[in-house]
Subunit: 331 residues, 2 copies
């Protein structure tokens, strides 16, 4: 009987995200029971939401990963054995397989994916990042041509797609990033109208210069001091979509939000969302997103790490912004 590797969460993160939180185990490759399929994962995705899943905070929108459980993540793989009527050996599937080389599944929550698409593109665009951008920007944000969008974490997996979808819809798009390289990428390659480096720019001055007509849509992926500045430039009837607050997830004292006065003065709507509420809508979300993908309008940049061990080492990049594009692990 041959074996495979998986990585379990064994400790809750406090400050540092390092290998001490995990334990790598070797397990016998199982046989699917009636109604099950076995997937060999080729690529697994590393997403900022995982930081939340690792913490024991019971207030979160999804139960934390239990200690001793295989770390949760999404990924793509190939069906290598099946006793499930809907899945055949050789098919490409996407699902929440976790940090593992092999996974048994009942088929629930699994989506078939055209095997011709590059795995990097599937995880960068059609998987969680693209579905998140579609739900948050297109469905909740209701962007209108001529409006101005500011997106934080703009070079990130979600932010880069949010900005590109907004450009496709005819908006002025300003991205907030953490390096000159990322600033250049979102402007030169993705076609954003401007970028703010939150680490080096004078935030108020640069934001005012780049949003001469104020801000109609604010897509928040990060938190941090830029939040107050963008909030202060919101136009009447502005919409704020709160998708991520990576700066606050591991903080003992999350930053206070802005005064609510502007919510009245500008009649703002602030809306938080998370994708687990929308799993059942994935087919519609994919249908909404697919035309943008097929038109070739959506660029992506994949940051591919190699091998299961690299996942543990790659996690901190999600917090310190060290990744260059959508972070994933090739197995």
């Amino acid at each position: 009987m041959s074996h495979y590797h998986a990585v379990k969460l064994v400790r809750r993160p406090e400050k540092a995200l390092d290998a001490s939180l995990f334990e790598k185990v070797s397990l016998p490759i199982p046989e699917p029971a009636e109604g099950q399929l076995l997937v060999r994962q080729s690529h697994m995705s590393l997403d900022p939401a995982m930081i939340g899943w690792m913490s024991a905070d019971t207030e979160s929108y999804i139960p934390p990963v239990a200690l001793g459980e295989v770390m949760r993540s999404s990924g793509v793989g190939e069906v290598v054995a099946s006793r499930h009527p809907d899945f055949a050996v050789g098919e490409r599937v996407m699902g929440m397989f976790g940090w593992t080389q092999y996974a048994l599944s009942s088929g629930a929550g699994i989506t078939k994916i055209d095997a011709a698409l590059p795995a990097e593109m599937v995880l960068s665009v059609l998987a969680l990042p693209g579905l998140t951008a579609t739900q948050g920007l297109l469905r909740l944000g209701k962007p209108k041509a001529g409006e101005t969008l500011v997106v934080t974490g703009a070079a990130g997996s979600v932010g880069s797609l949010v900005g590109q979808l907004a450009k496709a819809e005819g908006l002025r798009v300003i991205g907030v990033v953490g390096s000159e390289d990322k600033a250049q990428w979102v402007v030169d390659t993705l076609g954003f109208d401007g970028a703010i480096n939150y680490k080096t720019d004078d935030l108020a001055a640069k934001l005012a210069e780049l949003t001469p007509n104020g801000v109609d849509l604010f897509f928040e992926n990060t938190g941090g001091p830029i939040q107050q500045h963008i909030f202060g430039r919101m136009n009447a009837h502005g919409r704020i979509i709160v998708c991520g607050l990576i700066a606050d997830y591991l903080s003992d004292t999350p930053a206070p939000g802005p005064s609510w006065l502007n919510i009245i003065k500008k009649r703002l709507t602030i809306q938080g969302f998370t994708m687990p509420d929308h799993w059942h809508e994935i087919p519609e979300l994919i249908a909404t997103l697919l035309p943008y993908v097929q038109s070739g309008k959506l660029q992506y940049r994949a940051h591919v790490l190699e091998g299961l061990d690299a996942a543990m080492e790659g996690l901190p990049l999600l917090v310190n912004g060290g990744n260059q594009g959508k972070l994933m692990v090739a197995l």
Copy 2:
């Protein structure tokens, strides 16, 4: 030619709201030109929104009252002369007539009101407070039977109607008030399920005791420290309607809002609104509200001051909570 009195705003408020901000003038009673009507006002309304209208803050949702202009307010009165095809002498009308005994009008923004209804009831229920509660609670908040609502400023003109409309819809309703008298009134007379005295109660403990199933709807009229506590008890998919922040309007340093983490964790929607955006919907709002009025479900308490001069003296009550019910001036 006989004369009437009006009161003009001549100074912007800084800290105190007193008579030094105003000037009373005597003016000749005008004749309506073609297309105009002349209204003799019987009752004018004092509303918290007026504090905002008096300040020069250009970010507000409605232009400030200009210095030297008659102070803005809504009221009811009788048509005493008309050269307008739609209005006849003797009809009862409601509109933004200002602090004045007589007002000329083009008819724009004026609503006819059944002359059989008591003026106190018109200004307490059918005018701004009732329309605000209808728009904010029923349209934006989408209350569902069995949910829990917390409303701040619960004994106020808007808050008392919000709570009663929510009770009529089958919600558990907790009101935040600033005195024992008000606490007793909202529970005993209005039928709320509980009240919190923000001046004397242990906010966290009392709120937890009164909202055992958390909070689904938060109707915010006041701001202040209770905001953070209610925000912390919001349930998944909770809705927060921001209608007023009286504690912050005159503050140099408005209180920061709560951290946005809960907006994601609980997938909250926070929505600010002001009635000037909805003037054109007043007929529909009245139609929505009228069945509740006619069913006798909506109690009100009018705090009636006498005479134009009393308006200047009554204004501080809106800030310090000294009014006992909907504040208005009988002329």
